[in-house]
Amino acid sequence: MSTVHSNRKIPRFGARYIFEARIRTMTKFVWIILAVTILNPLLYLISIGVGVGSLISHNLGPHGMDGVSYLTFLAPALLAASAIQAAQDEVTFPTFQGFKWGRIFYGINATPQSGSNIAGGVFLAAMARTVLGVAVYSTLLYLFGAMNSPHSYLAIPIAIFSGAAFGAVMLAFAAYTENEDKFFTIVGRFVVGPMFLFSGTFFPITNMPLAVQVFGWVSPLWHSIELGRYATYGHKISMTMVVIHFTYLLAMLVFGLFFAFRQYSRRLEK
C-alpha cells in the first residue's frame, strides 16, 4: 500500500484552539459573567466587610484583627475565595457539557486534538475567567480601602495561583464524574460551602476547636489565605509554614492537571 498523502501538520500547542473556542462561548454569557463578577464581591464587601467590619473595629479597635483592619484582614481571603469559585465554575460546567450534555469533546477529539489538549484548553479558559474575576474584585477592594497594606497587590497572584490549584483538581474530579447531579450535591454542600466557612476566611481558624481546624488544613483556601495574609500585611507564620502552604497548592495544581489530562484522554477513548 502506497501513501500518497501529504502529511498535514499537526497543530502545535493545540490547547490554544480549545481555549479560543471556550472564550468564544464565554462571550455569549458576558453579561451574566460580569454581573456575577461585580455584584458578588459588592454584596460581600458591603455586608461582611463594612457591616461586620464596623462591629469589629468598634469592639477591638481599628487594628483589632491580626493587627490590621478587618477589611485588610479579609481582602486576601475574599480574593482567593472568588478565584477558587470562578475557576471551579469554568472547569466543571464545560467538562459536563463536553462529555455528557452536548458531547462536544467527542467532536473535538475527531480532529487532531487530543484529550490532554482539550483539558488544557478548558483549564486555560477557566484561568482567563479567574484572572478577570480577581482583577475586578481587587479593584473593588481597592475602592473600599481594603488594599491599603504595603504589599496588598501580592494577594492578586496568590489568589490566581489558588484558583489554578483548585481548578486543576476540580477539572480532574469533573472528568471522573459520570453523574453530575451527585457531583454538584457533594461538591457544593460538603466541599465548597464548608471550605468557605472553615478556612479562616472571616476569622482565624485558631479560634475554632482543633477537630474543626482539620477541615481548614486540607482546604486549599486556608493555605491560600495564610499565604495571602503573610504576603500582604506580614501575618505571623513561620517560613516552614509558608513553604508548606505553597507546596500544598502547587501539588494540587500538578496532580490535578496530571489526572485531568489522563482522564480526559481515557474517557474520550471509551
Binding site: 473556542a21 468564544r24 458531547r103 473535538i108 475527531a110 487532531p112 477513548e269
Partner: protein, 345 residues
C-alpha cells in the same frame, strides 16, 4: 441490470432525482472507478477485535476500503458498526488485530490520521451555544487551519449544506436535518481524504433524508472516499458501492448491493398477509408453493423468480391473502436470509 437495480427501490416508493438514479447503476460506477483511481487501499483491516470486558463488540473482522470508494457497514443496532468506525477514526483503541488508515496505525499516529479524516458521529455534537458559522470556524481551528482558509471554506460549505440563510443562527435553533447537514459541512472543513458517517440519517424525516442523500451523492461525485454505517437498507443501496453486512460483531457477507442480492436472494419477493393469527397457520401451504419462505409476525415472504406467478398459484390453491405485494429483492431480504432477523427490530 438497470431495471433490477431500480426496482429494488420500488418497495419504498422513494422518489429520487434522475441524476441521483444514475448512481444506482452500482456496477457501472464501480467499473468506472476501478479502472481509474480505486486501486489504492486507504483502509486495511485484518482480524480486528474489540472487547469491552467480557463482551466482544467486534469479533475478528477483515476488510479494506479503496480510494474514492463509497463503503458501507449494514447491520442492526449493536452489530459493532460504530465501534469499528471509531477504531478507524483513531478515537478508540482496538483489543487486537491490524488496522491501517492512510498507511498509518491509528494506535500510534492517531492525531496524524485524524488530520485527514472528516467524522460525522451518530449523535450530533455541535456546540449548540454557538452559531452555524462559529461552529464551522472553531472546527477548522481545531485542525490548526489558518483564519483566511477557513473563512473562504465556510462560504463554500454554507452553500453546500444549504445553510447560508442560517449562517448567524444559534445551532440550538436549527432543525434536526439542518444540524445533520451542518455536522457534515463541519466534517468537510479540513478537506478530508476520508469522510466517515455513522448513521447519517437516523432520526430524520423522509424529506430531510433525501436532501442529505443528495448532498452525499455530490461528495461521491467529487471522488471523496465515503465510509458509512447504516441500518437502513435503502440508504446502503443508494450510497454504497460496496458494503459489508455485520451482525453481532462479525461480517456476514461482503459485496456490491447487487452482488449480495443476487447471491443471497431470489429475483423477486412476494409478501402476503393473511392476518396475524393465520400467517403461521398457512406457512406450510406456502412452503409447498415456494421453495424458500420467511414467516414474519405480520406477513409471509415468498422468495421466487416471478412474484406475480406465485400469487396466481396461491389464489389457485384456494388461499386469499388480505393484501399482497410483489417486489424485487432488497438488502433487507439479504439481511433476513443471513441472520434470520430484520434490520430494525
Amino acid at each position: 441490470m438497470l431495471a433490477h437495480s431500480l426496482s429494488t427501490m420500488t418497495v419504498l416508493r422513494v422518489r429520487v432525482e434522475p441524476d441521483v438514479l444514475a448512481f444506482l447503476l452500482t456496477e457501472r460506477a464501480y467499473k468506472k472507478l476501478d479502472s481509474t483511481t480505486m486501486s489504492e487501499n486507504l483502509i486495511e483491516v485484518s482480524g480486528l477485535t474489540k472487547k469491552y470486558g467480557d463482551f466482544t463488540a467486534v469479533d475478528g473482522i477483515d476488510f479494506h476500503v479503496r480510494r474514492s470508494e463509497s463503503f458501507g457497514f449494514l447491520g442492526p443496532n449493536g452489530a459493532g458498526k460504530s465501534t469499528t468506525m471509531r477504531i478507524i477514526a483513531a478515537t478508540s483503541q482496538r483489543t487486537s488485530g491490524k488496522v491501517s488508515v492512510l498507511g498509518k496505525d491509528p494506535e500510534v499516529e492517531g492525531p496524524q490520521i485524524r488530520a485527514h479524516l472528516g467524522v460525522v458521529p451518530q449523535q450530533d455534537n455541535l456546540d449548540i451555544q454557538l452559531t452555524v458559522t462559529e461552529n464551522l470556524y472553531i472546527y477548522g481551528r481545531y485542525f490548526g487551519l489558518p483564519d483566511k482558509f477557513i473563512r473562504a471554506k465556510i462560504e463554500e460549505l454554507l452553500e453546500f449544506a444549504q445553510l447560508d440563510e442560517k449562517r448567524n443562527v444559534k445551532v440550538d435553533l436549527l432543525s434536526g436535518g439542518m444540524k445533520r447537514r451542518l455536522t457534515i459541512a463541519r466534517a468537510l472543513v479540513s478537506e478530508p481524504d476520508i469522510l466517515i458517517l455513522d448513521e447519517p440519517t437516523t432520526g430524520l424525516d423522509p424529506q430531510a433524508r433525501h436532501i442529505l442523500w443528495d448532498r452525499l451523492f455530490r461528495l461521491k461525485e467529487n471522488g471523496i472516499t465515503l465510509l458509512l454505517t447504516t441500518h437502513y437498507m435503502d440508504e446502503a443501496e443508494q450510497l454504497c458501492d460496496r458494503l459489508i453486512v455485520m451482525d453481532k460483531g462479525s461480517i456476514m457477507a461482503e459485496g456490491t448491493p447487487l452482488e449480495l442480492i443476487k447471491k443471497y436472494c431470489s429475483k423477486e419477493v412476494l409478501e402476503v398477509r393473511f392476518g396475524s393469527d393465520k400467517n403461521a397457520l398457512l406457512a406450510p401451504a406456502m412452503k409447498e408453493l415456494c421453495e424458500r419462505i420467511e414467516v414474519l409476525p405480520d406477513r409471509i415472504l415468498l422468495y421466487t423468480d416471478d412474484a406475480e406467478d406465485a400469487l396466481d398459484s396461491i389464489v389457485r390453491a384456494g388461499h386469499h391473502p388480505h393484501t399482497s405485494l410483489a417486489r424485487r429483492s432488497s438488502l433487507e431480504d439479504v439481511f433476513l436470509r443471513l441472520t434470520g432477523r430484520s434490520l430494525i427490530d
